[in-house]
Amino acid sequence: MKKEKQPARRPSAKAPKGVSRRGFFQAMGLAGAAATTLAQGGCGSSGGGVDPALQQGVGPDAIDVALKVNGRDVKVKVEPRVTLLDALRDHLKLGSTEPVDLTGSKRVCDRGSCGACTMIVDGRTVYSCTVLAVEAQGRQIRTVEGLSEGGKLHPVQEEFVACDGLMCGFCTPGFVMSAVSCLERTPGATADQIRKCLDGNICRCGTQPRALEAVVKAGARMKGRR
């Protein structure tokens, strides 16, 4: 007879057994987590070192986390192991007084390989499923919802609709964020450069050819406007 336990896919702070990405962060302490995530997520170091409050250790219970999302201050109460993606998708309504519901960023692979959760943090794209919410404090977080505040779509969004660069639409917010970041950092990007920018985004319906066409067109429009 063989005894089996459910694999420790997401070890809790209360029962830290097994090794996983987040368990690894916990074992290293949050200082290590911050450094690792910055390197993986590619946010770029802000150079300020790690918040002394974090070095004392936090959790395992939920803590107050203050985030700046699309220019607005929001507060969430989440366990330190909660990702930026999950905090914005699931916890804003539960733990915050801010009446926002940011479910535009999607959870698809939940381990940094598909791009559906792409956000722009301090000017660079990150997979928000590999950034912890606590670690995103003090950073400028942009989500897909922030692109069309006031109801006017961003040129990238307009071209996605016009070129039909989307089908089921589940990957689309991530594609849009990667494309916006690409064109902001590389105005006038060529189709080849854009293709590389979008390589970290996976689509199952097969929208890639027309998504590329949409971003090329949006890039031309945005450059013309400068």
């Binding site: 007879m1 063989k2 005894k3 089996e4 336990k5 459910q6 896919r9 997401r10 809790s12 029962a15 366990e79 909660v82 999950d86 699931d90 916890h91 309504k93 539960l94 940011l102 479910t103 535009g104 999607k106 698809v108 692979c109 939940d110 381990r111 390989s113 598909c114 559906a116 989500t143 897909v144 919802e145 692109l147 069309s148 779509l153 969004q157 996605f160 609709v161 039909d164 989307l166 089908m167 089921c168 639409g169 589940f170 689309t172 917010p173 293709r195 590389k196 390589d199 970290g200 985004n201 996976i202 689509c203 199952r204 319906c205 097969g206 929208t207 890639q208 050819p209 027309r210 590329l212």
Partner: protein, 710 residues
């Protein structure tokens, strides 16, 4: 009077951007995964960690005592058998997802391991072996081969793949009252999802139970989402227990384990052609798996019909989740076997592969004979577009250096045709129009299709129509499968609008001093055909209804629908690749897809379906394979880094040519374009490197192994 499409079409066949596009690109489209209801609980499922075993311990009590847990239930009981890694054992719901995950790990469970079947080959060697199912048609196989002057033999196959819907399976269950359940489900069939919940054992006893399935948006299905499924009924049971809404969406690994997969097919093939290059004989010994209790979807022989054939197939069981329909069930596998065989036979006889296919297109006696002129046109168009004349060379690129270039092609067919559907059209005295249909939009564009059809029939603009789909509360329409939604929905909506318009004409005729049959609706006007100056604006005409709105119902089953929809499409695809014979790496240079779907309803979105089929086909051809550990039968790649999908840089240039045959009516295009890509790519690789790789996906290792055997 039979109903038919207008001969002069203003909206149908134009390029209409999808109407829900703005919501989707802004992140404002609410998918099931995005439903955060007040008081929402999060559900999770405990899944077996052995692929085959008996449950010997199962105790939920420790989990029920965990923080935040509000309801728990067992799915299997002690003594039950688990049949695949990830089989469902128990479930619970808690205040937060994190708490639910912790609590799942607190459930006490133990298994007695049983020997697993981890591969098709292991399944074949089982004692007693699975029996072959044999079909033989036409000449006896020996007589057929006696006619052949050229023969070829090969081993071709396609591995099991999984659906990888980006929005995983699952739903949010919300009991509005004791007998009123609303679910937000990621489904291809709102009606059947409702029915599956109504008929769920524990709910059958609830008197007058009302179930509504709301699915305004869903993130991909590809054949795997036709009911509430186990996780759906579990979520509804937990919600009922906890008296709170429950969200239960599968995680990525669970989606790979239990969200659906496409059966494999491996075939040892011998084929023969006569001296004129006519396929005369086909002998196939095949096997494949559809999971722990189902088999392959056998569609051999595919398209080409020899004078005699024999197919001996063994359905093999392995300890993995059972198959689900996947985009054109059985056809991509059959095409991968058949069209690779055709290529090898052409090579053996020294015939050009395109010419050889043209010569063997279905003739009299083959039920697909009517499609042959379409294939002929498509093969010629595709060959021209890919540069076959200039680029094709005999097998094996003679160019110096490690990079070899090659061309390949394949053809496909699929039924499509109209699925069951009803729709209603309501016209109010103020001229507003609302069309309701209980279908759903998988990303295929049904949301946009409904107003296109209504605007065409009523002579209005798309913005004048309120189209309502994605709810089981609307008139019943079937699930979106088999490429039948476009046909069925177009018919139901079209006829509902035609019937409503008849009522408007009846009111308007006296005012225009004409008979109802003399009237036409076009450009926002109702006018007398013979004297267009005699007209009413749409609003004026509708005002004649008085105080009461009218509603008409259209049904695909209406006997008076003639020639508005059909079934049966042909397609052809050509692929241009470069292969590095030192690394085995395949690079796609270009794909040309020529597709047919009868009457094109929305050219922009229709083309997207073809692009999508090609992209998915390339991904399947190059990367995708469900890998089971050979000892434990546990899936080794239940994620998205080792289960690879194609990205932008993997695709090359894709060129789509859409044929339009309005006289055939609506057919449906969702599935056919995914069928031939794998075979066409495999043939291009063989043309480049000079050897047959045979089994897909064509990984660098398989290319190098094939070259080593040269």
């Amino acid at each position: 009077m039979p109903y038919k499409w207008p001969e002069k079409r203003q909206v149908i066949g134009t390029k209409v951007p999808r109407l829900d596009g703005a919501l989707k690109v802004a992140g404002k489209a609410k998918y099931s995964y995005d439903r955060n209801l007040p008081g929402l609980l999060h559900g999770k499922i405990l899944r077996s960690t052995v692929a085959h075993g008996k449950i010997v311990t199962l105790d939920l009590a420790p989990a029920e005592a965990m923080p935040g847990v509000k309801a728990a239930m067992s799915i299997k009981k002690v003594g039950d058998i688990v049949r695949f890694g990830g089989d469902e054992v128990a479930a619970l719901a808690a205040e937060t997802e994190e708490q639910a995950r912790d609590a799942i790990r607190a459930i006490k469970v133990a298994y007695e391991s049983l020997p697993p079947l981890a591969s098709e080959e292991a399944g074949l060697e089982r004692n007693p072996p699975p029996p072959p199912q044999t079909t033989e048609k036409g000449l006896k196989i020996e007589e057929a081969f006696a006619k052949a002057t050229v023969t070829s033999e090969g081993f071709y196959g396609v591995a099991v793949i999984t659906h990888v819907c980006l929005e995983t399976h699952g739903l949010v269950a919300d009991w509005k009252a004791d007998d009123d359940l609303v679910v937000y489900c990621s489904t291809q069939a709102v009606g059947n999802t409702r029915n599956s919940l109504k008929n769920h054992g524990p709910f059958k006893a609830i008197a007058n139970l009302k179930v509504t399935c709301e699915t305004p948006f869903m993130g991909g299905g590809f054949g795997s989402k036709f009911s509430a499924d186990l996780q759906g009924t579990v979520a509804a049971e937990l919600a009922r227990k906890a008296k709170r809404p429950v969200k239960l969406m599968l995680e990525r690994d669970e989606e790979h384990w239990a969200g659906g997969n496409r059966p494999s097919l491996f075939a040892k093939v011998k084929a023969g052609a006569d001296k004129d290059g006519k396929l005369v004989a086909l002998d196939v010994e095949s096997y494949g798996t559809g999971g722990n209790s189902t088999g392959v979807d056998m569609r051999l022989p595919y398209i080409y019909l020899p004078e005699g054939h024999r197919i001996r197939n063994r359905d093999v069981n392995v300890n993995a989740f059972n198959k689900r329909a996947f985009r054109a069930p059985g056809s991509p596998q059959a095409c991968a076997v058949m069209d690779q065989m055709m290529d090898d036979l052409a090579h053996a006889g020294g015939w050009d592969p395109v010419e050889f296919r043209l010569k063997n297109l279905p003739g009299q006696g083959n039920p697909l004979v009517n499609l042959s002129p379409i294939w002929e046109k498509e093969l010629k168009m595709g060959a021209e577009a890919i540069g076959w004349k200039q680029g094709y060379h005999k097998r094996g690129d003679p160019a110096a250096g490690p990079i070899k270039r090659g061309l390949g092609c394949a053809i496909n067919t699929w039924g499509g045709g109209p699925g069951g559907a009803q729709a209603s059209c309501t016209i109010a005295p103020d001229g507003s129009v609302e069309v309701r249909c209980g279908t759903q939009d998988l990303g295929t564009g049904t949301t946009t299709l409904v107003p296109i059809v209504a605007a065409e029939i009523l002579g209005l603009e798309i913005k004048d129509i309120q189209g309502k789909i994605g709810s089981s509360a609307y008139p019943d329409a079937g699930g979106s499968g088999g490429s039948t939604s476009c046909g069925g929905v177009s018919l139901a909506v079209g006829v509902a609008c035609m019937k409503a318009l008849e009522q408007i004409f009846a009111k308007a005729a006296p005012a225009l001093d004409a008979q109802p049959g003399d009237l036409e609706a076009e450009g926002g006007k109702v006018y007398v055909k013979a004297a267009p100056a005699k007209s009413l604006s749409w609003k004026q005409a509708c005002a004649l209804l008085g105080a009461q709105a009218i509603t008409a119902v259209g049904d695909k089953a209406d006997k008076e629908i003639q020639g508005m929809a059909a079934s049966g499409v042909g397609g052809a695809q050509f692929v241009d690749v470069s292969v590095d014979v030192e690394t085995g790496q395949v690079r796609v240079n270009k794909v040309v897809a020529v597709a047919d779907c009868g009457l094109v309803m929305n050219r922009l979105l229709c083309e997207s379906q073809v692009y999508g089929g090609v992209v998915q086909g390339l991904s399947l051809a190059l990367f995708e394979e469900r890998r089971l550990d050979p000892r434990s039968a546990l899936m080794l790649n239940p994620d998205m880094e080792w289960y690879k999908l194609a990205g932008h840089s993997d695709l090359g240039e894709i060129e789509v040519h859409l044929l339009d045959y309005p006289e055939r009516g609506v057919i449906g295009i969702g599935e056919p374009p995914v069928i031939p890509t794998q075979a066409a790519l495999a043939n291009a690789v063989t043309n480049a490197v000079g050897v047959r790789v045979g089994v897909l996906p064509i990984t660098p290792k398989r290319v190098l192994d094939a070259l080593a055997k040269k």
